[in-house]
Structures are given as structure tokens and as C-alpha cells.
């Protein structure tokens, strides 16, 4: 009679995906501004450690650091839409994939085969993020002919209202 031993740690594939997405985001931020890149690198470290040891708090800190890096790049270096979108997407994905992997680790453990689960979830989140980034970038490019920022914001508010109405 051996006690059940489940290692309550996220599956390795999840950890790898999270680290990859965070690293891509940090690299994009680094291209735009070295200071933001440094903040992003700290975020990558936090995110990787958080998923490895299974700490939501550390993971959240890492994602928030990545967001801070994005804001820094936007505010100080006035970075273009490309790096900012990639950085923002990376921050959102690291939180989403990391939290998902953490949940899998808590409920199923590291020994359990959850490859399909992780891959499906990652594909869904990446698709949603990519489409959202592409659409907003498209709208931005089309409307960038000297329109004021407030116009973009109103466009965003309109989109939110539309989504709420459909829901």
C-alpha cells in the first residue's frame, strides 16, 4: 500500500510555452527600448520561476512586470504599434498559459499526460490574441491618417458596447 504521490507542479510543456511567449515579448520590448527590455527580462524570470515552482503570485508578478515593460516602452520610448502589441500579447499569454499550467499541475500533477490539453488551450489563446492584434493593427493603420487618439478610443468603446450587446 503506497500512498499516492502526485507532484503538484505544472507540466513541462506548459512551462516551456510560458517561458517562450514571455521571452518573445521581452525581446520585442528590448528592440524598442533597452530599459523596457530589461524590465521585460525580469518579467521573463518571474514568469519562468512562478510556473516552475507553481506559484500564482510569482507568475502574476511576472506578467505584471511584462505589462509595465510595455507601458514603459510606450511612454518613454514612444515605441511603435509592433513591439507594443507583441509585448502586450506576450504578457497576456504568459498569464493565461501559466495559470492554465498551474491549474493542471494542481489538479493532475506533473506525471499526468496533459499534452493535448495544453496544446489545445495554447492554440486557442494564441489564435484569439493574434486575431485581436491583427484587427486592431489593421484598424489603426486604416485610421492612422492624422485622426486624433480620442477617435481610436471611441472606436474601442464602440467595440466594447457591441460585444456587450451581442453577449
Amino acid at each position: 500500500m503506497v500512498a499516492v504521490t502526485v507532484t503538484r507542479r505544472p507540466p513541462r510543456l506548459g512551462v516551456a510555452l510560458v517561458a517562450l511567449s514571455a521571452a518573445v515579448g521581452a525581446a520585442a520590448l528590448g528592440l524598442a527600448s533597452p530599459a523596457a527590455g530589461g524590465l521585460g527580462a525580469a518579467g521573463v524570470a518571474f514568469v519562468a520561476v512562478g510556473t516552475l515552482v507553481g506559484s500564482r503570485r510569482t507568475l502574476g508578478t511576472g506578467a505584471a512586470t511584462l505589462v509595465a515593460g510595455v507601458l514603459l516602452a510606450g511612454v518613454l520610448a514612444a515605441a511603435g504599434p509592433g513591439p507594443l502589441l507583441v509585448g502586450g500579447l506576450a504578457a497576456a499569454l504568459s498569464w493565461d498559459l501559466g495559470e492554465h499550467a498551474l491549474g493542471l499541475g494542481e489538479q493532475l500533477g506533473r506525471e499526468t499526460d496533459a499534452t493535448r490539453n495544453v496544446a489545445t488551450h495554447a492554440a486557442g489563446s494564441v489564435a484569439v490574441g493574434a486575431v485581436a492584434a491583427a484587427v486592431s493593427f489593421g484598424v489603426y493603420s486604416a485610421a492612422a491618417g492624422g485622426q486624433p487618439v480620442v477617435a481610436l478610443v471611441f472606436l474601442l468603446v464602440g467595440a466594447i458596447a457591441l460585444v456587450s450587446a451581442v453577449r
Partner: protein, 453 residues
Amino acid sequence: MSGRGSDSRASSDGSTGANGRNVDPLNPIRPRGVVPTGRWTGMAALALVPVGLGVLLRHPPLVLVGALGVAFAAYARGDAAPDLDVTIERDLSDPTPDPGDEVTVTLRVRNDGDGVLPDLRLVDGVPAALATGAPARLGTALRPGRTATLTYRVTAVRGAHDWDPVHVLARNPSGSRERDARIDAGGTTTLRCTPELEASASLPLRGLTTVYSGRVPTDVGGAGIEFHSTREYRHGDPAKRVNWARYARTGELSTLAFREERAATVVVCIDAREGAYLAPDAESPNAVERSVEAASQAVPALLDSGDRVGVAAFAPGDCRLDPGVGDEHAARARKLLATHPALAPTPTDERFLPTTWVRRFRRWLPADAQVLFCTPLPDDYAATVARRLDAYGHAVTVISPDATADDTPGHRLAGVERANRVSRLRSAGIRVLDWGEEPLATELERAAARWSR
């Protein structure tokens, strides 16, 4: 059997925290039905920060980052909970294995619904006694009509083991809502592991017997093998028992008497209280397992020698088998020892009143019955029961599997306490077989040489 996740949503109170901490693996009390996971909480608020900064600094790309956050928030908000319509089938490679056999368990889960299940987590309800290191868990995604398979191995131990319903968690693609359900699996859900009864070395019994002839030598003179006494010839004594040698020498007729060998009634009583589930370490079988092993060696040995054998468990629940003889009785005893819930390899949490049990046991016990008490002697009460039964005239023999360890001071103290109980029982005239590491047959052999009749 098909199960649909119950929609009855329990009160989702404080357990659904804001940052998705409602999933606590150590806390089995979770709300059933649809539960918001809260993992996207705060996303919309966070998305407003870059939008605000973008407006303030007149830097449009920051607004785009905000749009991205809003998109994720909308994704989480608009995502409906998945419809859980799955069929689960369980299959055992051998539903009636021998103890120690490896059994492969195959769990097939099919998505009977119309929608994709993007995030499906299964935890099989493995019986506590069969739980092994290998996880009986699966995380997968299932398209409609597809089947996922989970295979794991368990090692069979004695008993009838029922699988609990499968714990199924299904999340929507964004993971914002999850459905929690327990689904009964079809197919085999019981593993029956019935060890063979194997007679070991013959069991030395004490001198309390019935009127039937058997194997236990008594102090009564009569027909038999071992010399007992001689006495004057009385008319009608059988000619073959006349002491012809003496007649030739002196011319007087005398009769030889031999020890009469009679059959005994033996009740094998197994201590299976919660406190008797003791083992020196995690890998060793617990004392109840060893007691049952001793009983399943003693029962056939006694039946073979013509004794009447009954079985009882010093445990909650009525686990009693009236003394009897014959093959059918042996089969009944085997089934009871293997699968009775009171003798399960893991303790039950039923309430147990030992004093009431002893009273009822005495009422049930035939007057001429010996008691073979299998107990690890975990407390003074077990010793008291043995002494009390012995005092009531039921010759008691204690077979005590040693479940003590000597790795910590506390364990050593428990070992000393048990040794004291053993010596107190022995000084009260009760036979105690202190069963250590060696096989029971060896210990019995050694004890039989020591014990007087």
C-alpha cells in the same frame, strides 16, 4: 451508462477567489456544476491603463495594447460553459486477480455532445486500498464523437474494491468557466481479489474440545494412540485394549487407556478496529492484513483436521460466520475473509462500541468454543478482551502480528507497551504467538515446541 454533469449549482461563496484559487486539490469540498474560475478577473480594468496613458500622452499605439486587453476580457466573458455529455467506460484486464497481480485499468471517455471539449480533466476514483504511485489522471481535449483513453496499473490486494465515480472537470476554451461533475463509469467497477485458503503447519490447539472425535489430545482416557493410563478390566472392554503383556506375566486382566483425541470448535477472531490498522512502515502490509493472512492459514488447517471453525471480526459491522465443517463452509469462510467490508484493507469510519461487541460476541460464541484471537495488541483493551474471554472458559490463543517499529522514541515506546501486554497475557496463562518477520508456519512450529498441552 451515460452521465450528464449536474447543473445544480451549489453556493459558490468565498471558495471562488478572485485569482482563480478556487481549485484547491487538498480541499475536496468544491461546488458542483458550473463554477467561474476567476482567472481573467481584472483584465478589463488593466486594459484601461494603456488606453488612459495613450490618451494622456497622445500616443495611439498604447491604445492598441488596451484593445488587446479588451479583446481577451471579451473572450473570457463571452465564453459559455461547456456542455459535459460524456460516456465513460472502465475496463479491468482481470476483474478477479490473485493478490499481488498487476491489473491494467483502461478508462475510455467519449464525447457524446455536439461541441468540442477543449479542456477535459479526469481523475479516476481509484479505491483507497489500490491507490498506487502512478496517477489515474488525464488531461486532454476531445472533439465530438472522439474517445480518449487513460491506462494505468494497480496492484491487486485482498478484498472487493469498488471504484468511485470519475471526477470530471471541463473548462471552456478561455478557461473562464468550468463544469465540475462526478460521473459513474460503465463497465467493470469492482475488483474482487480472493486469496486461496492455504493450510499451513497444523495449529496447536488448547484442551477445550467437543464430544466429537478429532485431533486434539485430551486428558480423557479412552480409545486413541498416545498412552494415558491402565485400569482394572471391566466387562465389555474391547479385547484389543486389554493389556495382554501384563496378563501373560501375572494372569490379571487390565485395560489400557489412551488419550482420547477429540475435535474442537474454534472461532477465529480478527481485530480489525481502526486502531489495528498498523504497519511498521508505509510499504509493509498492515496488521489487519497479516491477521487475515493468519486466519486464512488457520481456517483450512483446522477444517482439514476435522475441527469446527467459525470466523468473527472485532470490528464495526456484523462480521460473523457460525462454526461449521465441510467444503461449503470453507468456501464461505474464504469469501468472508477476502471480501467482507469489516476486514477491508483500509479502515472504515463506522462507529464502534467495543463493550457492546464483546457482550454480543459472548452470547453468540458456542460454550465449548476456543478462540483464536488475531490482534496486533494495539491497546490494553485487546488484551482485556483476550483475558475476559479466557476467564469465561473459552481457551484463548492470541496470534499477534508485530506492527511496531523502532525508528523513533515514540515507536519504541509503543513496542515496549506491546511487549508488556504480551507478557501480561502469558502470565495470565494465555498462549501468545508473537508473530514477527518470519512466516507464520515457522513461528507456529517454534511455538508448538514451547507450549505445553
